[in-house]
């Protein structure tokens, strides 16, 4: 098991660190938020990220990718988490890129993967239908009619949904809500007749949308993978996304920890720095321990993906549960230790807290993943 980085990976991490610090610092997210930016991320910078190979990191060289693999992508996401970088990495690379890689036919792969790697296509996965992550709770239906399908239903919390050039929609072609079988993935043009997209403004100032489908017609060639067999692809894709978001949250908790530690060494009360008080020291030491465990879990999850180990679902749930819970704890503690300043918009800790909650809700929180872990383990 590789819990230690290779030289090549360290180099990639250094490149990513420098890129996000310089090109996508937290000020970038503030600007997007304050100007109510219509896109919700910086397209020019996304192009730069593509040029650096970040967009094609999971895509083989055949399609113009860099094929650095999951550990590489994890390193990039961790650094993105440190600066709250808004980008389509999750929607386009983790989710849709993986789905096409896993289930796409030769034409779909050629068309989509090369466009993603070049930074020319933004994609979004329309999956959720309720306030909690649930990949089988799908009521949206796709009825076969001749050589086409007609999709009707409502999707929510579609990351980058309002700016996507192409959607992947999970719809039911058979069975009833909560059945595992009967789910099919469709490639859908968001400009199709009957698609209505409403951008939802979330606390983390990152992109999401509600999308409704009213009798939207798609050709049979738009099916991604097999009819009725979408859940197998979805589960693999979701595990990749869960592990990727865990890597982003690792960067997030580490950043909040580092800035809080620095604040404790600088802020004075009662004539001394507050970091000299044991009541705070012990809490920081406990957080340090929790984050060290987070780091081991994320590294193991990434290398599980890379080595295609058969315990990927288990370690994905472990990582997402642990990172979600630790991100909640760290941002709460970080805010408290910043005192009144932590409550102000001027300080960044509040931004990290908001992002932590949205990341936690993405693809299953601690409750979802502990339940899943227990089921996978047979109890």
């Amino acid at each position: 098991m590789a819990l230690v980085l290779t030289e090549e990976q360290q180099l990639l991490r250094d490149t990513a660190t420098q890129f996000f610090q310089e090109r996508l610092p937290i000020a970038n997210l503030r600007k997007l938020r304050d100007t109510k930016d219509a896109t919700g991320f910086d397209r020019a910078i996304w192009k730069e990220m593509s040029d650096l190979g970040f967009a094609g990191i999971m895509i083989s060289e055949k399609y113009g990718g860099t094929d650095f693999g999951p550990v590489g992508l994890g390193l990039v996401l961790e650094q993105a988490g440190r600066t709250l970088a808004a980008s389509p990495l999750v929607s386009t690379v983790l989710l849709c890129g993986s789905a096409v890689q896993l289930a796409g036919n030769a034409t779909q792969r050629q068309d989509i993967l090369s466009a993603i790697a070049a930074g020319d296509r933004i994609m979004a996965l329309a999956l959720e239908e309720g306030p909690h992550h649930n990949p089988t709770r799908i009521a949206t239906r796709a009825e076969a009619s001749g050589q086409a399908f007609r999709i009707s239903g409502k999707k929510t919390f579609v990351l980058d949904g309002h700016v996507a050039d192409q959607l992947i929609v999970a719809a039911r072609t058979s069975g009833k809500e909560n059945d595992r079988a009967g789910i099919t993935l469709f490639l859908v043009d968001p400009k199709s007749e009957g698609v209505k997209i409403t951008r939802t403004l979330m606390v983390d100032s990152r992109n999401a949308a509600d999308i409704s489908f009213d009798n939207v017609s798609v050709p049979a060639t738009a099916v991604l993978g097999s009819v009725d067999g979408g859940i197998d692809v979805l589960e693999q894709v979701l595990d990749i996304a869960r592990i990727g978001i865990s890597a982003e949250m690792l960067g997030l908790v580490q950043e909040v920890f580092d800035t809080t530690l620095a604040y404790l060494k600088e802020r004075k009360q009662f004539g001394k720095v507050i970091g000299s008080f044991q009541a705070l020291q012990h809490r920081m030491a406990v957080l340090f321990a929790e984050i060290e465990l987070c780091r081991s879990v994320v590294l193991d999850a990434l290398s599980a993906l890379e080595a295609r180990r058969n315990d990927v679902p288990l370690i994905a749930s472990l990582a997402k549960a642990r990172l979600s819970d630790t991100a909640t704890l760290m941002t709460n503690e970080g805010l408290q230790m910043h005192g009144g300043m932590g409550m102000t918009d001027q300080f960044d800790v509040g931004l990290f807290m908001k992002r932590a909650r949205v990341a936690t809700a993405s693809f299953g929180d601690g409750n979802f993943h502990r339940d899943r872990y227990a089921s996978l383990e047979g109890y």
Binding site: L3, V4, K265, A285, F288, S296, L299, R370, S375, Y379
Partner: protein, 398 residues
């Protein structure tokens, strides 16, 4: 690589021939542990045979130099040996504070004569050692110890009291921290070895909440110790003491991973929960209990991965890493939580003390639950560990 493979084949063949059948069965109780010493006890004659054969090769202390009776194995060879021992589920031939704690310190700090005198006897299990560290007034503040050691020209004279001395009533010799300069704190401590049979030494076992008495109060009244028994320089014992504590903490850290008495006899947490609480559709019947079990298992796995990462980092030459500073704290807290959870799972079956109505495994869990409370106190309390992390790793000021 080839040499290592050859070593594996040879080791496998030797173990096959020399590890007696009864030494390949799991221990049924801690009483079967072989500690060696002048009054050594063996659960059966094969246990003695097993110890003698392993000691003959120096494999009770595989990496110590051959000159002192050790096995002279490289790290890699020792890994192979341990793997092969695990493969046949061999019992430890010898459990010994001499091997785990004192030996490494002697190898680093003792003079040639002392190494020649003590190390081979440790390897062969002839002398059983105990550790004289804590005192009634020196617990977390260990360097505040007061046991007095005076230079009487041709010998030292020791007076004072130790506490929590593990197995002092069964040990042959003690390695002991004594005060040789009362005007200084850390720089007035020395590291002394002496025979527990010396006149003036008395060990009284302490009954613990678990009902067992592994610890003693140890009294020293005008104990005469030869001057050659001082290890390292006078007043420089604290350095040795700290190094030894490192070995001790590493030893205790592994507990969170679940070893003896950790409910293994009940088939692990989830099986125990199904048995004692019941199941519905293959799930533990209580969703709340099921969630608690999962938290415990997840944290255990995350901790195991962290110990593994730390080992890999050390191997890659990146040093022990900051992560290792949390092992003692996290491992012991995890172990305590595990026992609390087991007790919850077992209900009143986990609350038996002895006799009818409870299985041996149940009583073992209950007693181990009580024993586990000491994990976060001995070898540096959790609070001391957190202080160490705050100050040395995070750089927070006093």
């Amino acid at each position: 690589m080839e040499a290592l493979e050859k070593f594996r084949q040879e080791t496998r063949a030797w173990l096959e021939e020399n590890c007696p059948p009864s030494m390949r069965t799991p221990m049924t109780s801690e009483d079967e542990t072989v500690w060696g010493g002048r009054n050594a006890k063996y659960p059966n004659p094969e246990a003695k045979l097993w110890l003698d054969r392993m000691a003959e090769r120096g494999w009770t202390a595989p990496t110590w130099p051959r000159a002192y009776g050790g096995g002279g194995l490289s790290k890699e060879e020792n890994q192979v040996l341990q793997q092969e021992l695990r493969r046949i589920k061999a019992r430890p031939a010898l459990s010994s504070f001499g091997i785990w704690m004192l030996g490494p310190a002697l190898l680093e700090f003792a003079n040639e004569e002392q190494k020649k005198e003590h190390l081979p006897k440790i390897v062969r299990g002839e002398i059983r050692w105990c550790q004289g560290y804590s005192e009634p007034g020196a617990g977390s503040d260990l360097a505040g110890l007061q046991t007095k050691c005076e230079d009487k020209g041709d010998h030292y004279l020791v007076n004072g009291q130790k506490i929590w001395t593990s197995y002092a009533d069964k040990a042959d010799w003690i390695f002991c921290l004594v005060r040789t300069d009362p005007t200084k704190k850390h720089d007035g401590i020395s590291f002394l070895l002496f025979d527990m049979a010396t006149p003036g030494v008395e060990a009284r076992p302490i009954t613990m909440i678990s009902g067992a008495s592994p610890f003693c109060e140890t009294f020293f009244t005008d104990v005469k110790v030869p001057k050659g028994n001082l290890v390292g320089e006078l007043n420089k014992g604290w350095t040795i003491a700290k190094r030894l504590l490192q070995h001790e903490r590493e030893m205790i850290s592994g507990m969170g991973l679940g070893g003896a008495g950790s409910g293994a006899g009940l088939g692990g947490l989830e099986q125990a929960a199904k048995d004692y609480y019941g199941e519905q559709n293959g799930r533990v019947a209580s969703p709340s209990l099921r969630d608690h079990i999962t938290r415990q298992k997840m944290d255990g796995k995350a901790f195991a991965l962290t110990m593994q990462r730390s080992a890999e980092e050390a191997k890659a030459g990146q040093g022990p890493g900051a992560a290792s500073s949390i092992f003692k704290y996290y491992g012991t807290e995890l172990n305590k939580r595990r026992f609390e959870l087991l007790l919850e799972i077992m209900g009143t079956k986990g609350l038996g003390w002895e006799g009818e109505g409870f299985t041996g495994d149940e009583i073992t869990v209950t007693r181990s639950w009580l024993r586990s409370k000491g994990n976060s106190i001995e070898g540096g309390t959790s609070e001391v560990q957190l202080n160490v992390v705050s100050k040395r790793v995070l750089g927070l000021p006093d």
